[in-house]
Structure formats: C-alpha cells, structure tokens
C-alpha cells in the first residue's frame, strides 16, 4: 500500500520536475555572474541592469505592453458581451457562433497567422501596430468568452428575472447584477488575454512588420543567435509577468462568490 503511494508520489514529482526544472535552471542562471560558462560564479544583478540600460529594449517592451493592454481590453469587452448574449438570448446562428468560438481557440497559430497575413495584405494594410492589434484581439476573444461563459453558466438562471421582478431595468440588471457577478471572470479573461498577447510568437511573426517590434519576437531573434545571460534575465522577467497574471486570474476564477 505505502509502496504504491510512494510510487505515485514519485511519478508526480518526476513529471513536475520535467515541467519545472528547465525553467528553474533558466531563472537561476539569469543571476549567474558568468558570461559564457554554466559554472556558478556567484549572484549578480548585472544582466538585469543591462536590460534596464538598453533603450531599444525599453521601446520594444513598451510596444508589447501597449498591444497587450489594448488587445486585452477590446477582447474583454467584445468577449464579455458575446458570452452574456450567448447565455441570455436566442438568436439566429447562435449554435454556429458557439462552434466558431471553439474552432477559433483550436486553430493552430500558424494557420491563423498566415490567414490574417493574407487578409491584411489583400486590404493593403501596412503590417505593424494596427494589424498586430487586430490579430491579438482576435485570438484573445475566445478565451474571454469561455472564461465568462463558464462562470455565467454556474449561476441560477432565474437571477436576471429576479432582478427584473424587483424593478430593475435592462441596464440596471446588467450594472447591478450581471456585471458584479461576472467581474472575477471578466478580470481573469483580461489577464489571460494580456498574457496571451505578451507571449505570442507565431501569429505576431506573420502580422507585424519591422516598424513595430514586440518583445516575444525580439526574444525569438535573440534566442536564435545563442544563449546569453541577458536573454536569461529577459525570459525570467517574462516568466514573472506571466506567473503573476496567471496566479491572479486563477484566484479570481476559483472565487465562487460565497
């Protein structure tokens, strides 16, 4: 019995080790005071300092943050409205819309990337800020819809009627009942969209041009040239952003309002 238990725990640990060890090594080496070797030469902040001193990198990071903030916000507004509509109303093409949202989520990034590239080229839109923004909003929407829809489906389906019964207008029902109850899921959807946008390589690869560089693509071009402590530091920072966003999002999604 206890052997079995030990085997189970060992297996879980093994897989968690597989998932986390490489990341851990990356993080540790971002603090290593050695430029070329993997030998541990002591703790240093030099690589982070180097990142801070790089004005180009600052611009690229700001570009990414701007795209992530804007795309997450627009996707959250559209996705939340879509989820509420999917939950509350019957309308023409509802099943199709539901299916489309899931198909969009499953579409391989590369397929979406070249499809949007063809669209933007055909419309003669110059590749850069706007095309990137449109693309990021598009791949974020399904995640917001699913996040909000899964929370809203857990509600008592008579809550909206109860609000109206007590005298609330359509707007008051949205403002005082629906929105506060959805708030955690909406916020979680925003955070996840932000993360998706900050981390996306494949779609962005096709839909942005040299005029507008973003962090994941910058990292990609750096990484292709080899391993450096600066990249380690930059990747660690990216990991930190993702980690905090995901932790907050998960805490919000877990809260069931009790």
């Amino acid at each position: 019995m206890s052997v079995k238990r030990a085997a189970r725990i060992a297996y879980l640990l093994l897989i968690y080790g597989f998932l986390y060890l490489p990341i851990l090594v990356l993080v540790v080496y971002s603090f290593n005071d050695s430029k070329y070797s993997l030998e541990w030469r002591g703790l240093t902040w030099d690589w982070y300092q180097a990142l801070l001193d790089d004005p180009d990198l600052w611009q690229v990071a700001l570009n990414s943050a701007l795209i992530a903030t804007l795309s997450a916000t627009v996707a959250t507004v559209i996705g939340t409205m879509a989820a509420v509509a999917l939950y509350r109303y019957r309308f023409f093409g509802k099943t199709l819309l539901n299916g489309l949202v899931f198909v969009l989520m499953l579409t391989p990034d590369i397929v979406m990337g070249i499809a949007l590239l063809i669209l933007f080229t055909s419309l003669s839109l110059p590749l850069g800020f706007w095309t990137l923004l449109l693309a990021h909003i598009t791949f974020s929407i399904p995640f917001v819809v699913v996040s909000v829809l899964s929370r809203i489906s857990g509600f008592d389906r008579y809550l909206i009627e109860a609000a109206k019964d007590l005298g609330a207008s359509e707007f008051q029902t949205f403002r005082r009942v629906l929105l506060p109850m959805l708030a955690p899921a909406v916020l979680a959807g925003w955070l996840l969209s932000f993360t998706l946008s900050m981390d996306d390589v494949m779609v962005s690869f096709f839909v942005t041009g040299p005029s507008f560089e973003i962090l994941p693509l910058k990292i990609y071009s750096m990484v292709r040239l080899g391993v450096t402590p600066e990249i380690n530091a930059l990747c660690t920072l990216m990991l930190g952003v993702t980690l905090s966003m995901v932790l907050v999002a998960q805490a919000l999604l877990r809260d069931r309002g009790t």
Binding site: F155, D156, E161, A162, L166, S169, P180
Partner: protein
C-alpha cells in the same frame, strides 16, 4: 366592468412553438386571498405565474391586474413580486442588500431603507443574518430571504413558484404554516404554485386544479377534495377508489345504481338518466371493512364480499388493499379508534375474508369517462 378581483385572466392562451401550454384560461383572484395552482408538472401552472410576472407574453386573451391591462408592461414595472423555486438570491450581495435591492430601485434611501429591510427580515426571523451572504445560509434560511426580498416591496400580489419543494419534509411542514400566517398578517394576495396536493389543501383559501393547460376545477380545498367535478381532480387530489355502476332507477336527486349486482340508492347533484354508466368514487378512509363474524345476515346482504390482499401498517392507520370477489382492487384506510370496540383490533391478515361497504353520502358519483 368592475369586480373585486385583483387579478383577472380572460381567455388566456399560450403556446411554445407548436406545444400548447395554456388553453383559454379564465381565472379571477380576489384581493387578499391565498390561491394555489395545483397540478402535475407541465400542466401550465408555472406559465400562469410567468405571464403574471411579465416574463412571458400571452398569445391571446387579457391579463388584468387591479383592473389594468398588463400585456404591454415589462416585469420591472409590475406591482407584483415573485419567490422563485430556486430562490434566485444574488450571490454577490449580502442578505441585507438582497432585501434592499427592490426598495433601492424605488429610491428608498437611508434610515427608511434600513428600517424597511430590517422589518422584512424580522418578519422572517432573519434580522441577525443581514450581513451574511446567501451561500452561508441553509436552504430554509435562503427561502426566508427570498420571501423577505419579495414582500419588502409591498406588492399587490406575491407569486410563489414551488417555493418549498427544495426543503426537507419537516422544514416544509413548518414553512407551510409560517407562510400561511405571514399571508394573513400582510393581507397580500398570494398565488402559490405546487404539485403537492397536501400542501395545496392545507394552505389555500381556494385551489385551482390544472391539467394539460386547463383549469379542471376551482374551489375551496374542501370542495376540491370532497366533491371533485371530474375523475382527474378526484384522482389527483388524494387517493381514491373507483367503482363502476349503471343507473337503474331515477328519482332526482336519488338514483338507484347497480354496482356489482347490488342495487344502492345514492344521491347526486348531477342529472342522470336510467341506463347511464357512472363512476362511484370513494376515498380510502370512507370505506368500511366488516370482518366475517360482524353484522347480521340482513346487513351482510348489502355488503360486497372481498378478501384482504395486503396490510400496510402506518402508525396511526392501517391501510388495507382489498380485492373484491369480482376482481376490483380497493385501497382503504382504517383508523385506530379506541372508542369503537369493533375496530380496535386491526390485526387483519392477508387472505382473510371480509365484507366492504362505505359511508353513504360520502361518495361522489360522476358520469363515466372513457
């Protein structure tokens, strides 16, 4: 046309796609009355509530509330409130804020609001729970909050959609009494929906028994139980035995009816002709069982010979399943009666020969329905 009805439905019909849920409903609800819509699921009772609340629109007919036609009015503008089956309490608001939801929308603020909400909570004995969230309350407490949240708006009519169905038996019984007392105290008209006939009979001033989109009978609980107007009502409201008979002689309001080769003389408010086929309905508690040694031969000639098929001991009563010699099965309820030496001993055995009759005048005679 003026009437004392606070709610009036005239020829109301409603269908979902091709499925008709209400057919030509006519109903008047008096001010201050406790009216129950009773029926099996799918009979249309909840649809009537939803039409009154404004969540659905009738296909045809008129709905008048306090004499005003309600059809164009959205739910938020109707002076009616609902207690939902699932309570539908707002999970993100405290008990206080749940109850304050309606008054706030009406512009009540400050001390007035505080007082009104607390008064409503006091009424349902929950004044100490105002800071809690619905998720922290028991089912019974949530039920009370739902009631407080509705009555705090002082509605003209309160609609209750199977509000007790989620509670366990004991709590349900207690809430039945409380609800009835509350209704008397507030003087608000209650329209209560249930599929539980016992609940309907014990709480209501009047009961409307519904089936397949129609009101089968509207009357006091006593009328519904003792003089059902058709077989559906008779069978839905409590257990009942049906004996088949044929009218052989007519002397209104008395009729000689041939039942299993015996002639019985019975009274009916219906008009029958000689030769009509009828159903004689008898509640289990109105059947009398005679043991083999009881009664004289003369008495026995009018009784129906039968055998005990099963004996079910229920504490305060003993239920017997009786098979008449001609094959009909009857169910009877025998009360332990300490004053009556003859029945004090209810130790019937399966297979035992008995004789059956009933207390005349307690039966109901209805035309035969195929």
């Amino acid at each position: 046309m003026k009437s004392d009805a606070v709610i009036e439905l005239r020829n109301v019909s409603k269908a979902y796609e091709r499925h008709t849920v209400l057919r030509n409903i006519n109903l008047q609800v008096r001010a201050g009355e406790f009216l129950t819509l009773l029926g099996p699921s799918g009979c249309g009772k909840t649809t009537i509530l939803r039409l009154l609340a404004g969540f659905e629109q009738a296909d045809s007919g008129e709905i008048l509330i306090a004499g005003r036609d309600m059809r164009a009015l959205p739910p938020e503008q109707r002076h009616i409130n609902t207690v939902f089956q699932s309570y539908a309490l707002f999970p993100h608001l405290t008990v206080f804020e749940n109850v304050a939801f309606g008054p706030r929308l009406q512009g009540v603020r400050g001390a007035d609001l505080q007082e009104r909400v607390l008064e409503a909570l006091r009424m349902v004995k929950l004044e100490d729970y105002s800071a809690r969230r619905p998720g922290q309350l028991s089912g019974g407490q949530q039920q009370r909050v739902a009631i407080a949240r509705a009555v705090v708006n002082r509605p003209l009519v309160l609609l209750l959609d199977e509000p007790l169905s989620a509670l366990d038996y004991k709590l349900r019984k207690a809430m039945q009494i409380e609800l009835k007392q509350l209704q008397r105290r507030l003087g608000i008209t209650f329209i209560f929906v249930t599929h539980d006939q016992e609940e309907a009979l014990s709480m209501s001033d009047r009961v409307a028994v519904m089936n397949a989109g129609r009101i089968e009978q509207l009357g006091t609980p006593r009328q519904i139980y003792e003089t059902p107007e058709n077989l559906f009502v008779a069978r839905f409201v409590g257990e009942i035995n049906t004996l088949f008979g044929r009218v052989v002689a007519v002397d209104p309001p008395y009729y000689d009816i041939c039942v299993h080769e015996r002639i019985v003389r019975l009274k009916s408010k219906f008009i029958f002709a000689s030769g009509d086929r009828v159903n004689i309905l008898i509640r289990p508690e109105d059947l009398r069982i005679w043991r083999e040694h009881e009664g004289s031969d003369e008495e026995r000639a009018t009784l129906f010979p039968a055998a005990v098929e099963d004996v079910v001991y229920k504490g305060s009563t003993v239920d017997l399943i009786i098979r008449l010699d001609n094959g009909d099965r009857l169910s009877t309820t025998q009360f332990f009666n300490e004053d009556d030496q003859a029945i004090v001993n209810l130790d019937f055995q399966p297979g035992e020969r008995v004789f059956v009759d009933w207390v005349h005048d307690w039966e109901v005679i209805l035309p035969h329905e195929d």
